[in-house]
Symmetry: C2
Subunit: 120 residues, 2 copies
């Protein structure tokens, strides 16, 4: 999974999102140690300050906590992770349906398109 950054939203928010996705997807398993800020920043090609900000948000969202010098650990609360995952999914589905509705697609059309997106 690469670091994909668009330029229309603050980088640090996008970094937080992608860190969340990696944690949810098991790239950084519960209880494991995250790579150091500087390393993550280098990977993503951003300034360490920017990655630091993204990690601070991750921490505020309860998905990791810093141990000063021991590094930064992913939360071990598997239920919390699953809760985040379903919450994210709900947001994504709702936004999808909303956007399609604004384009004038019916609920049925919007519901069917993701299964055969070649037909669009």
């Amino acid at each position: 999974m690469d670091w994909k950054l668009e330029d229309d939203r603050p980088i640090w928010t996008q970094l937080t999102e992608q860190l969340k996705r990696r944690i949810i997807a098991g790239v950084y398993p519960p209880g494991s140690k995250l790579p150091p800020v500087r390393e993550l920043a280098a990977e993503a090609g951003v300034n360490p300050n920017t990655m630091q900000r993204a990690l601070a948000q991750l921490e505020q969202d309860g998905l990791a906590r810093a141990d000063r010098t021991a590094g930064r650990l992913v939360t071990q609360d598997a239920e919390a992770l699953e809760a985040v995952r379903t919450a994210q999914a709900r947001v994504i589905v709702q936004r999808y349906l909303n956007e399609m509705a604004e384009l004038g697609y019916s609920r049925e059309e919007a519901g069917l398109l993701p299964q055969k997106e070649e037909t669009i």
Copy 2:
């Protein structure tokens, strides 16, 4: 349809998107005259300069053109409008599927959820 503005992306890009949606949805029919910049700006609660920028982008995308003092007219090319609509839909569907995949949902799950989003 209200002017919904989030604060994590430039306002002018969001305004352009919503103007597009209104045109596609027929709020501003093909060939019709758009409200003046100042009026649109007042409606949306933004600075006229910001709305001006959004309209300039709309123009660059070929959905309207300005007549100096006669106001700004929506394109009459209905086919172009339909093309924009399907292009938008394609983007939305693809992004939806991509985001769900990143959360670890299979193609089938992602395709089914929009039809019964209550189950999430």
